[in-house]
């Protein structure tokens, strides 16, 4: 699947390749700006809302790692996001784990799931890969519906936020906020690091021309599996954190529309860009939040955005900006 080639980011990716050592200045500036924005946001906006944006930003970036840089379209990423949310919620509520341990256990669960599903799914390509991942996600949904510990459609409710390391009370929104900010920022840096590592370069090579990389002697499938597991793990990190923030895990998190939403966020922001998914997630979550009064019009607006994005700017918002300023973002 040569998604990124058509989205026009290959040239950008190539330009980026020259910067494998160290971070280019404008990326540093953006990261610092993001961090500052993150630190100021809870004083300007509603902290829980910003935490939601952060969790989805991480989810979208994790998804983008697989799609934009690995060239693999998963249509079942809700499975990792949602199962991690369930495990994290269960660990915090029933086992009485502290929040950081609950999040870690959720993330581990997503990683294991990613390893199992990924090792089967990467044998297929293109649309077939997407369908296999969808099939697995539907099975996870079915399991979540049936398993006793997930609480059916009520989900796991009133999950305690607990105290970080057993010391810092997480109930005040701002306390929790800075923990979430730290987690998400760590996740974003990790993704950035992966993309710009030699491993990331090989991935882009596979994305652009798999046959070439095979003939160059790379074990292509191992790279694909690795990026799949990394993506699932980070998606799980996002889901596990979300469960603590909202104090609940529910079927919504594992339903196929969640997999669709993350595709929308990534596409809108700009797939194959570093910062695009963050923008996409922020826009979609804000839309859902601020248009909540209008009911049906949320769905219709989302649909219209989908259509406009596909028809007019396939590079996504950040992709378009990157083109203007002629620098990879």
């Amino acid at each position: 699947m040569s998604v990124a080639t058509e989205s026009g980011s290959t040239n950008l990716a190539a330009a980026q390749d020259t910067h494998t050592v160290g971070m280019p200045t404008h990326h540093k500036v953006i990261f610092v700006a993001l961090l500052v924005a993150g630190l100021v946001a809870p004083y300007l906006l509603y902290p829980v809302f910003v935490m939601k944006v952060l969790c989805f930003a991480l989810f979208a970036c994790a998804f983008n790692l697989l799609l934009g840089f690995g060239g693999l379209l998963s249509f079942g990423h809700a499975a990792y996001f949602g199962s991690a949310a369930y495990v994290s919620a269960h660990a915090a509520k029933i086992w009485g784990f502290t929040p950081e341990l609950a999040i870690v256990s959720g993330t581990i669960c997503a990683a294991v799931l990613g390893l199992v599903f990924g090792s089967l799914a990467i044998r297929r390509q293109g649309i077939y890969f997407a369908m296999v991942t969808l099939a697995f996600a539907q099975m996870v949904f079915f399991f979540s519906l049936q398993a006793p510990f997930t609480g059916g459609e009520d989900g796991i409710q009133s999950v305690p936020r607990g105290a970080l390391f057993g010391l810092i009370d997480m109930y005040p929104d701002r306390n929790l906020y800075f923990v979430v900010l730290a987690i998400v920022f760590f996740g974003l840096l990790a993704i950035y690091r992966i993309i710009h590592s030699p491993f990331g370069q090989v991935l882009k090579g596979i994305r652009d021309n798999e046959a070439r990389m095979t003939s160059l002697g790379y074990r292509v499938n191992r790279y694909k599996l690795a990026v799949f597991v990394l993506s699932a793990t980070l998606a799980g990190l996002a889901g596990a954190t979300k469960a603590i923030v909202f104090q609940l895990a529910s079927l919504t998190d594992v339903y196929w529309t969640m997999s669709g939403e993350v595709v929308l966020m990534t596409l809108l922001g700009g797939m194959g860009t570093v910062f695009g998914p963050i923008v996409g997630a922020a826009i979609i979550v804000s839309l859902q939040n601020y248009l909540a009064t209008f009911g049906d019009w949320v769905t219709i607006t989302q649909g219209v955005i989908f259509v406009i994005a596909v028809m007019l700017f396939r590079e996504g918002i950040v992709g378009v900006i990157a083109k203007w300023i002629r620098k990879p973002l």
Partner: protein, 397 residues
């Protein structure tokens, strides 16, 4: 003379403050505005809340009410996000309606944590006044226990001794089935079998055939919305009722029957807390509602009206919107409104009133698009709901 002047001035000041410091109340109507339950809740519930404010004459009584609304999309995380924002940032005092049990339970928790008030009309789960009961929640309109008992008991007494359930395979369906089985057995009936149908489902013919093969007198539909519509539609198609089996819809709204058409739905027995054509008061109110919404109100929308009226009465009586005082007042004062008649709010938050057993009319009996039910029996408030103390609510000693 001088003292008299001061007293007069103080009195005048008091009177002035009565109007100047009017209570500001903000009510958030949160429900499904785009999904499965948007017809029975949705914008109609907002209209009902607005009508309650007008009919109560809140403005003249010095209560300034603002109504906001939002769509929770039947997702607990979306709902809890809105609820937190409403309570923390936007000064909302009351969240009303909230269909979908999973979302309702989440709002129930948050409302308790933030010490506000939740007037639930839309959700079915009896857990809201059972193990999850909260001092901050009133569950106004109906619940699974009420529906299961109303319909279940009536059917067994009418000779439907053996039952087979089509249960939507999720917690709500399971609860409805469990509640109904208990009544059926208590009343001397027997449950022959259960089939758990994937939710949401489209084709129920296979399950109906299993129900038919069981030979049960009654096929209980422990499902809701589109599932119920599809199963009733297909039961008619397969001639199940003609062959002598009865169908018991455990959660059926007027909108569902309207969607099915009488040809298909006729003869269905169901329990409800409200129907537009009960008496002069409900007819007059429903006509006004219809002018704005273009259709008759559902039980849930009527419940939002009743709940807001009762809440405003309590605010007026307390003269303040302090949640603890208002909740205490709501539980102390008997309820009385044109739609639900007399009733009360119990210690566990359950609001009780008469409920009705209806039978869906045949096309010949019906005199209009919304002329759907005939009343079979009235179930008195005290018998209609789960007895206080049986739900495991910690608020009840």
């Amino acid at each position: 003379m001088k003292t008299k002047g001061i007293v007069l001035a103080a009195l005048a000041g008091l009177l002035m403050s009565g109007t100047a410091y009017a209570t500001d109340v903000k009510i958030g109507v949160m429900n499904d505005r785009s999904g499965l339950y948007s017809d029975i809740t949705g914008e109609g519930s907002v209209v009902a809340a607005r009508m309650a404010v007008e009919d109560f004459g809140a403005a003249e009584k010095g209560i300034n009410v603002e109504i906001v609304s939002a769509d929770h999309q039947n997702k607990p995380d979306v709902g809890s996000n809105i609820a937190r924002q409403w309570y923390d940032e936007e000064g909302v005092d009351v969240i009303a309606d909230v269909p979908t049990s999973s979302v309702a339970l989440a709002i129930n928790d948050i409302t308790r944590e933030k010490n506000k008030i939740h007037l639930n009309s839309g959700a079915a789960t009896s857990a809201l006044t059972g193990e999850s009961c909260s001092p901050n929640t009133v569950h106004f309109t109906y619940d699974t226990w009420q529906l299961a008992h109303g319909t279940g008991r009536a059917m067994v007494e009418a000779g439907g001794k053996t039952w087979f359930f089509l249960t939507a395979d999720y917690a709500f369906g399971h609860q409805l089935e469990a509640d109904t089985s208990a009544v059926v057995k208590e009343a001397g009936g027997e449950v022959l079998g259960v089939v758990r149908t994937p939710f949401p489902g489209t084709d129920f013919s296979s399950f109906l055939l299993q129900a038919q093969a069981s030979g049960a007198d009654v096929i209980g539909l422990a499902n809701a919305g589109g599932d119920t519509i599809n199963s009733i539609k297909q039961a008619a198609e397969f001639g199940i009722t003609q062959a002598g089996q009865s169908i018991a819809g455990l959660l059926v709204f007027t909108n569902d029957v309207h969607a099915l058409g009488l040809e298909v739905a006729q003869g269905l027995v169901l329990t409800s807390s409200f129907y537009w054509d009960l008496n002069e008061g409900t007819r007059e109110w429903s006509a006004r509602f219809e002018e704005q919404m273009g259709k008759k109100p559902s039980m849930v929308q009527a419940g939002v009206y009743g709940a807001v009226i009762h809440y405003l009465k309590a605010v007026e009586a307390v003269g303040d919107k302090d949640p603890e005082k208002v909740m205490a007042k709501m539980k102390e004062m008997p309820t009385d409104d044109v739609l639900f008649g007399k009733g009360k709010v119990r210690a566990d938050g359950r609001k009780i009133h008469d409920s009705y057993l209806f039978r869906v009319k045949t096309p010949d009996q019906s005199e209009g698009e919304w002329d759907l039910y005939e009343t079979v029996a009235t179930i008195p408030a005290e018998q209609g709901f789960r007895p206080l103390g049986e739900g495991g609510c910690p608020l009840v000693e």
